[in-house]
Symmetry: C2
Amino acid sequence: MAQVSRNKQVILTDYVTGFPKQSDMNIVDSTITLKIPEGSNDLVLLKNLYLSCDPYLRILMTKDTTAELGALTPGSPLTGFGVSKVVESRDPDYKKDDLVWGMTKWEEYSLIPTAQILFKIEHTDVPLSYYTGILGMPGMTAYAGFFEVGSPKKGENVFVSAASGAVGQLVGQFAKLHGCYVVGSAGTKEKVDLLKNKFGYDEAFNYKEEPDLNAVLKKYFPEGIDIYFENVGGKTLDAVLLNMRVHGRIPVCGMISQYNLDQPEGVTNLAHIIYKRVRVEGFAVFEYYHLYTKFLEFVLPLIREGKIAYVEDVAEGLENGPAALIGLFTGQNVGKQVVVVAHD
Amino acid sequence: MAQVSRNKQVILTDYVTGFPKQSDMNIVDSTITLKIPEGSNDLVLLKNLYLSCDPYLRILMTKDTTAELGALTPGSPLTGFGVSKVVESRDPDYKKDDLVWGMTKWEEYSLIPTAQILFKIEHTDVPLSYYTGILGMPGMTAYAGFFEVGSPKKGENVFVSAASGAVGQLVGQFAKLHGCYVVGSAGTKEKVDLLKNKFGYDEAFNYKEEPDLNAVLKKYFPEGIDIYFENVGGKTLDAVLLNMRVHGRIPVCGMISQYNLDQPEGVTNLAHIIYKRVRVEGFAVFEYYHLYTKFLEFVLPLIREGKIAYVEDVAEGLENGPAALIGLFTGQNVGKQVVVVAHD
């Protein structure tokens, strides 16, 4: 007879308005039968190990989101990227104890469509949690956004916002490896120190302590910005637009400063898109997963040889998941925010 | 001895703030010696026939413009696109009585660097004034912006603002010829009628009579917009962003609604650039002039066979130039605004 297990879950209590708060999520002790139901051969049973806290989740917590990224449903567990171990699979591609990453749920065990597994994890000489970050969706986001959308050239001037975050810390290092001059912004002194001392940014500043973002950008980019890797939107974007170089590119990865606002901030300097022939381009990482093998060939040696730094902020236990996720939007996290459900 | 002629000029009196007004420009009777000075073999002497009123001129009337398009200088004649006849040239490429178009000045005769001539006019079976519009910079702008930047596909949904203007009227017709569904916006009933009855737009509306631009776009684009040809910026852009389709493109040609504002309007819906993976791209026509011959091969047959309509708004006499230019910003003009300096 199939084993029944406790299944702790993080449930979305209701659609979120404004900043997400603890009461928007609820920890419940559910149960799960550790067996794929008869006739459900398209499902896989996973034990979740690491969950990824990503800013885009906030977009999916809004009712009638116009984002075509799927949505979260009140009363159900959160859905998101995670690293999991296969408990049972009827798909020949996956067998018991395989490690995988893809779209799972915020709970201890998940029964999900096999199609939601994105990749089997083949390289385990690196921490498994890395597959929620540098080796997972954020890593691919940094890679595709910088190299494919940004079209960087050696010697170009690159600015990254949210620069110590999961994606930003990688974009900055990729840009340095590519021979670019790189400046990052972040929201605390600790993060600014990380940018300069750990991630190798040429310059970094705390945007919360700069009353004039235009002036600070002019100081660090006297010749202007070739690539702005956009993670935040709002006032930062507005100041950047005044400082773009001709044929500059703005890969738009996220606008985290705007997700919690009822009325987003107005950006006023868009005419500079004409003056400087700037290309502003939104992208979604899932359109670039065909490059994942190529990406691993690029990034795994860098990790193994210590040529790239990677900082994680690890919350232990599913019950600490909501606070970890909420912390993204107040800048609590330092580096990639991960939630550990189980270590193996 | 060289002939001395009267040379009526339109002088910029001072940098402009807010909407340009009659007192920002002055008509003066100057004189000119109709002879290229000795040693100035890089200059050409032109008799100006038709001058082009273009929205971008407003940008150049601002002090310390950050636009890298050159600037206008108070106390000097306006500079802009025009059709001219060569009076004297020491360049073997141009001889007396050749017709040319390029960057000239708002005056009867101009002594300018030969390099400012863009093209010799080879086809004179069409009205010469067309080289300020459909066969000149605005025509190339519509062509490059729509086909090169917009990357249109047959059957796509296209929205054009300032749709009856010099560029807009052509974009709409190019889009129809390409097999697209095309909707345009303009600011008077007369212009809306033109869009539907003369330029063949599938639908058109008067943005000044629509309290809810988002709603009207949803009505005309139930499946969303693939290409928005951006001429106006501000509120229209903000509503468009809510209605873009996945992988939509926004060639940014101009933002005429913003040029006269001390503080541009804030655009709030930029996060939709991420949600829909939209590409917003500023462009400048001068980077596409290498396509001019190809463009003429495309558009001249359309004109000769009556397959494209073209509406000009002609102001007679240089003294009526300032009012014609000012009228662009209040929507006085119907179609391409031209100033006739001389008919031959």
